[in-house]
Amino acid sequence: MLESIFQNLINALQWGSFYSLIALGYTMVYGVLVLINFAHGDIFMVGAYIAFFIATFLIGHFTLPGGAVLALSIPLTMVLTAGVGVTLERIAYRPLRRKGAHRLYVVITALMCGLVLENGNLALLGASRKSFPELVDKVVYTVGSVSMTNLKIAVVISAISVFLILQFIVTRTKIGMAMRAISYDKFAVPLMGIPIDTVIVFTFVLGSSFAGLAGLLFALSYPILDPFMGAIIGWKAFIAAVVGGIGDIRGAFLGGFLLGFVEILVVAFFPSTYRDLIAFTILMIILCVRPTGLFGVAKTTKI
């Protein structure tokens, strides 16, 4: 009994890590742009596919050991995925920001960009699922009768490291301070001599590269890729970010793990088809009862 609890705990930690990594991206962009980048889950998907192409390319053209391929893939994937995110910002969101367009239009654009990425992938690459090559031998560690693979541990460690890095950047560096400043008052920031576009691009770089990392790790853990993998995970990560309090990194991080735990609990007691239903119901309830989430701060309007 206890072992299955621990087993489930490990799984929850793993899924929670994926959600956290993606939720961090959502929350950062929201903090800086007050925009829910609905396309972020699909950037995760793009990251996974980029990782796939890089890995198969490296394996095919150079005979490198799996570990080396992995070591090369990680930074390449992160950089390229960051590129995708920045491109999205540049082509779709920045022009609207320049025009001072209503936020509604930007949100719709974000939703649509996500759909373009998903369906574009499906249209260009076809419906056959891609299978990610095995790069690292799985090593199973067993403590008692609880087993965990080195991969799962790596995933959790990555999530925690990323969170610590981000927390450092946001609280200790100048650009992190600029990011926080923008979330309070977008108009004052350029007046203080801070190049707002640079900060925004930096935010997208951070968010997208970590989503890319999540994509790579996910592809390693669950090697079958499909164009819509980002959609539902993106939504779950988004739920996590909202539950934690969107705009706050700690909220996203904790929210991700919270959601991971809740899902594992649900699957333990209910049929698995209920998993998504319950996740979304939780979202609804939180949004109705405490829309600012765990760490968020309520904004009041002056009448």
Partner: protein, 358 residues
């Protein structure tokens, strides 16, 4: 005389359409395109109530379509057909014709009640958060249907074709076409009556300044409930008609893609323009159908000039790249859509001579 010009025109056009369908001058494909145009008109204009006139940002319209589709289909199949799950018909199939409007009404009511699911949260939330709530509601509705095995779950539900046969057995007319046309005219008429009355203008006031509306004696919560319920209810009617035309429904057809279609139609036509949403529904449906032919031509053409590798063919999935792209371009270059928030009579004032619009 001016009061009756447009109704008379509509009556003549509808009668002509039905007549041609009956005589089989227009084939089934054209008939179904016409019917989908009408269904999209209902979807687009009902969605416009909430997203356009009331200025909210709901994204889950397809959820209410699903409710209406399932409730009315299950009701009809249960009452009038011999079904594996529901058993023999409860009432005689001959009555299916007379009960159809009632079944549509049941779909309306069920969907309207489901609309409360988003109406109540809307009291306290707006903008992005309401968008999320409505998308979540969309997922919740489809997930719930997937989990209900008696209506087929993710495999879908069918049997509605038998209802159509039952109706045609009584009087041989293209009944679905008739019901669709009548429902469309009724929906647009209802919406128009609502939005152009002082009562309905309350929701426009709500949009432009909610605080001022509340202080000027508009019961904003009640208006939100009415708007959401009317909007969802009509979406339910559209869903019911959709289900019966296809003869088969499954939760997958009422997901985020369907809601996206509704979003495109509303913003293409113009938030807050009834004539805009009717126009954009027509244009959009024709566009979708047109792409069915255009994509293979483009594919052929691109292969002919050797721009595409031989193994690769443009599939219909490109439709789903083009549609979101349209909306993205719209947001960039003409976010107010075709008509903005004006009506046909504002753009062409001469029309006012022929028909009293408001």
């Amino acid at each position: 005389m001016r009061r009756f010009s447009v109704p008379a025109l509509l009556l003549i056009m509808s009668a002509a359409l039905v007549g041609m369908a009956y005589q089989e001058y227009i084939d089934l494909y054209i008939q179904s395109v016409m019917m989908f145009i009408c269904i999209n008109i209902i979807l687009s204009s009902s969605f416009n109530i909430v997203n356009g006139f009331m200025g909210e940002f709901a994204c889950g319209h397809a959820a209410f379509m699903a409710v209406g589709a399932y409730v009315s289909s299950v009701l009809n199949v249960m009452l009038f057909t011999n079904d594996k799950v529901f058993g023999p018909p409860v009432l005689s199939p001959d009555l299916a014709l007379y009960f159809f409007p009632l079944v549509l009404l049941a779909g309306f009511v069920a969907a309207a009640l489901a609309g409360l699911l988003v109406a109540i949260p809307s009291f306290k939330t707006r903008g992005d958060y309401l968008a999320i709530i409505t998308i979540a509601a969309n997922f919740i509705v489809t997930s719930t249907i997937i989990n209900i095995d008696t209506v087929g779950g993710s495999r879908g539900f069918m049997g509605m074709k038998k209802i159509i046969y039952a109706m045609e057995d009584v009087v041989e007319l293209p009944w679905m076409l008739i019901w669709v046309i009548v429902s469309t005219i009724l929906s647009v008429w209802l919406i128009r009556r609502f939005v152009f009355s002082t009562y309905g203008k309350g929701i426009i006031a709500l949009h432009q300044d909610e605080v001022a509306a509340e202080i000027m004696s508009v019961n904003t919560n009640k208006m939100k409930v009415i708007a959401f319920m009317l909007s969802s209810g009509l979406a339910g009617v559209a869903g019911a008609l959709f289900g019966h035309i296809l003869g088969y429904i499954n939760p997958g057809s009422f997901g985020i893609l369907k809601s996206t279609e509704c979003l495109v139609m509303v913003y293409l036509g113009g938030m807050g323009s009834l004539s805009g949403s009717v126009l954009s529904a027509i244009l959009f449906t024709l566009l979708l159908e047109g792409l069915r032919f255009v994509i293979p031509w483009v594919d052929g053409g691109l292969h002919f000039i050797h721009l595409l590798p031989d193994a690769y063919h443009l599939s219909q999935v490109w439709k789903w790249v083009i549609i979101p792209l349209i909306l993205i371009l719209l947001m960039q270059f003409r976010p107010e859509g075709i008509m903005g928030n004006r009506e046909l009579s504002d753009v062409f004032p001469r029309l006012k001579r022929w028909y009293s619009f408001k």
